[in-house]
C-alpha cells in the first residue's frame, strides 16, 4: 500500500492514515452539523430557541468515544515508532557528523564522504555526532529524523528499500546557513557500494590539531576551504605569508599575511576586506575565539602551505 | 475564606517549633555524615520536608488558614514534585 523507501514507511504511514482518517471524519461531521444547524435554526425559520437540559449521559458518551479513539491513535503511533529504536546487531555502523553547516559521514575503516551512499536492503545504524550546536538528521522519504545533539550519542537506523537519490536535510535550526545544510543520500547495489567505499579517502589527520579543532568548531570551513577552492571567502590554503590586496577604509593597499593581520581578520573582518569580496559577509569572532586560542589558530594556518 | 477573628499563635508554640527545627537540622547533619548510599539523600530530603511542613503550618500560619489555601499550597508542591518525576523518566532511562 505504501512506498517501500525504508522499513519504517509502513508503520509511520499506517498511523498517519489512521489519525488523518479519524480527523477528517470528525472535521467533516462536525462542520456539516454546524452548517445544518446554522441554516435550520436560523432566526428567520426558528424564531424561538428551545431551552434544553444538560444530559450527563451525552457528556459521558462524548468523553468516552474520543478517549478510546485517541488511545487507539496512541497505540498505532507507538507501534510505528518502536522499531526505530530496535537496531539489529548486524547493522552497518556509519557515523554522521553534523557541524555548521555541512555533513560528514564516516564509514567503517575510517573512510569519509560528504554524501551518504548506502547499499540497498541492508540495515545501517547512523551514530549522530555534532561538533557545535544541535542539528537534525532528517531523511523525509525514509521517515527518519533524530536530532544531532552535541555531547549526546543519539542514533537512528533504517533499511533502505529502493534505489535512487534522496534528500537529507538538517531539520534543527542551527544558524546562518541552516537551509543549506543538505546532503545527498544514494541507495545503490551492494557491489557498487563496496567499490565506492574502497575508493574513498581516509579521514584527514588534522582532527588532532588544536587550531584545526577551534576553526572547525566555529564553522570557518563552511566559507573557507583548505584546498584552494573559493567558497564564500578566500581559501586558507597557503594564506599565511602570502601577499595580496585588501581594501581598508576605501583605499586599496597591499599586505602580507602575518599574525597581526590574521588576528584583525578574525576579530574585525570588515577592517581589511580582501579585494574582490563584499564586506559584511564574515562576522566578528570576538569572544567566540578566545585571545589565548589565537596562537594555536595561527600555528595551524602556518601548516596550510601552498605545496 | 473568612477568618477575621485572626488566630494568635502563642510565643511558647513558636519557641517550641524553633527548637524542633534546630533539632532536625542537627539530625540531618548527623545522618549525612554516614554513608548510607541513596538513603542519605532521601533521609535528608524527608527531614527537610518535615521542617518545611513545620514552617508552613506554624510560622506561616497555614494551619489556621482556610482549607482552600492549604489545598492550593499542597497542589503547588505536588505539581513541582510531579514535574521532577516526569523529567526523570527521561534521564533515568537513557
Amino acid at each position: 500500500m505504501f512506498s517501500n523507501n525504508s522499513n519504517f514507511v509502513q508503520g509511520v504511514d499506517t498511523a498517519f492514515v489512521l489519525i488523518l482518517g479519524i480527523s477528517i471524519f470528525f472535521l467533516i461531521l462536525l462542520t456539516t452539523i454546524m452548517i445544518v444547524f446554522v441554516i435550520k435554526y436560523n432566526k428567520k425559520r426558528h424564531s424561538k430557541a428551545v431551552q434544553i437540559k444538560d444530559s450527563s449521559t451525552l457528556e459521558i458518551v462524548w468523553t468516552t468515544i474520543p478517549l478510546i479513539l485517541v488511545l487507539v491513535m496512541f497505540y498505532f503511533g507507538w507501534r510505528g515508532f518502536l522499531p526505530m529504536r530496535q537496531v539489529p546487531d548486524d547493522a552497518m555502523q556509519v557515523k554522521a557528523i553534523g557541524q555548521m553547516w555541512k555533513w560528514t559521514f564516516v564509514y567503517p575503516g575510517n573512510k569519509q564522504s560528504d554524501s551518504l551512499l548506502l547499499p540497498i536492503n541492508k540495515a545501517v545504524k547512523m551514530n549522530l555526532f555534532s561538533k557545535d550546536v544541535i542539528h537534525g538528521f532528517s531523511i523525509p522519504d525514509f521517515r527518519v529524523k533524530e536530532d544531532v545533539v552535541p555531547g549526546k550519542n543519539n542514533y537512528t537506523w533504517f533499511i533502505p528499500g529502493k534505489f535512487g537519490n534522496y534528500d537529507l536535510y538538517c531539520s534543527a535550526y542551527c544558524g546562518l546557513s541552516h537551509s543549506y545544510m543538505l546532503a545527498l543520500v544514494r541507495i545503490v547495489p551492494e557491489e557498487e557500494f563496496n567499490k565506492w567505499l574502497a575508493s574513498l579517502p581516509l579521514k584527514k589527520a588534522d582532527d588532532n590539531n588544536e587550531g584545526f579543532k577551534i576553526l572547525d568548531k566555529n564553522g570557518c570551513f563552511s566559507c573557507h576551504s583548505m584546498d584552494g577552492r573559493k567558497i564564500v571567502g578566500p581559501s586558507f590554503k597557503g594564506l599565511y605569508g602570502s601577499t595580496h590586496e585588501v581594501i581598508t577604509n576605501g583605499t586599496t593597499r597591499k599586505i602580507t599575511v602575518d599574525d597581526l593581520y590574521l588576528e584583525t581578520s578574525v576579530y574585525d573582518p570588515d577592517k581589511d576586506v580582501v579585494a574582490g569580496y563584499p564586506p559584511g559577509m564574515m562576522k566578528s569572532y570576538k569572544g567566540l575565539i578566545k585571545e589565548k586560542d589565537m596562537p594555536k589558530v595561527i600555528e595551524y594556518f602556518k601548516t596550510l602551505k601552498a605545496q | 475564606m473568612d477568618n477575621n477573628g485572626s488566630h494568635i499563635t502563642e510565643y511558647k508554640v513558636l519557641i517550641r517549633i524553633l527548637f524542633i527545627l534546630l533539632l532536625c537540622t542537627f539530625i540531618t547533619i548527623e545522618i549525612t555524615s554516614f554513608d548510607l548510599a541513596a538513603f542519605t539523600v532521601t533521609a535528608a530530603l524527608l527531614i527537610a520536608g518535615f521542617k518545611s511542613y513545620l514552617v508552613l503550618s506554624y510560622f506561616m500560619h497555614l494551619k489556621y488558614e482556610s482549607l482552600l489555601l492549604r489545598i492550593l499550597v499542597s497542589m503547588v508542591f505536588l505539581l513541582f514534585f510531579v514535574i521532577v518525576l516526569i523529567t526523570f523518566i527521561d534521564y533515568s532511562f537513557r
Binding site: - | M1, L18, T28, T32, S33, A44, I47, S52, V73
Partner: protein, 205 residues
C-alpha cells in the same frame, strides 16, 4: 493615588492581600523549582563529583546560617503575635532582630563567597573553566542558587525595613497588620528555600 480610583481604597480586603502574597510565593517556589530540577539532574549524573566539591564548603558556616535563618523566622513570626497583642515595642524589637539576623546571614555569605573568590573560584573565572565537569557544575549551581537566595534575602530585608517604619509610624497596628504579615510570609519563604539548599549543597555524601 488619583481621585478617581479612591473607590478602590474604600474597600480594604486583607484576605485578598494575603492570598496575593501566597500566590506570589507559589511563583517564587517554582522559580527556585527550576533550579532544583537542574540540580537534581546534574547530581544524579555526577554524584561523586558533587560529593567531593561539597567538601570545599564549610559546614560550620552553613550551620550558622541555618540557625540564624531559623531563628529569624521565629522572631518574625513572633512579631505578628506581638502586634496582635498590641505590644508595639516588642513588635519593633522582634522585627529589628529579624533584620539583624538577615544582615548577619549576608555578612556570613560575604565571607563564604569572598573566600572562594580569593582562591579564584567564581563564575567565569579561569579556574572554574579548568575544573572537572561535575565540579564545575556543582560550583555553578552553588553560586547561582545561593546568589539568587541572597538576592531574596535582600528583598525580604527591604520589606521588613518598610514594615518596621510602618509599625513605628503606627500605620501597621493590631487590627491592620497585613503588610507585616505579608513581609513575614516572604521572609519564611526565604527560610523555606534555605531548608532545602542547606542539605543539598553542604551535606552531600
Amino acid at each position: 493615588m488619583s481621585e478617581h480610583n479612591t473607590h478602590i481604597d474604600e474597600h480594604r480586603d486583607d484576605e485578598a492581600s494575603k492570598l496575593g502574597m501566597w500566590l506570589f510565593i507559589f511563583t517564587e517556589l517554582l522559580l527556585f523549582g527550576g533550579l532544583f530540577l537542574v540540580y537534581s539532574i546534574f547530581r544524579a549524573q555526577y554524584p561523586a563529583n558533587f560529593h567531593e566539591s561539597s567538601l570545599e564548603l564549610s559546614v560550620t558556616i552553613g550551620v550558622i546560617n541555618t540557625v540564624v535563618l531559623l531563628f529569624s523566622s521565629m522572631t518574625i513570626a513572633m512579631s505578628i503575635t506581638a502586634i496582635q497583642k498590641k505590644n508595639k515595642k516588642l513588635t519593633l524589637a522582634l522585627i529589628g532582630v529579624t533584620i539583624l539576623m538577615a544582615f548577619i546571614f549576608l555578612v556570613n555569605k560575604y565571607f563564604e563567597w569572598g573566600h572562594k573568590f580569593e582562591h579564584g573560584l567564581y563564575p567565569g573565572s579561569e579556574l572554574m573553566q579548568l575544573l572537572e565537569r561535575g565540579h564545575h557544575l556543582y560550583f555553578s549551581l552553588y553560586f547561582f542558587m545561593t546568589g539568587l537566595h541572597a538576592l531574596h534575602i535582600v528583598i525580604g530585608m527591604v520589606l521588613l525595613v518598610i514594615a518596621y517604619v510602618k509599625v513605628n509610624k503606627g500605620s501597621i497596628k493590631h487590627d491592620k497588620f497585613v503588610f507585616l504579615e505579608n513581609g513575614a510570609l516572604y521572609w519564611h519563604l526565604v527560610d523555606l528555600i534555605w531548608i532545602f539548599l542547606f542539605p543539598l549543597l553542604y551535606l552531600i555524601s
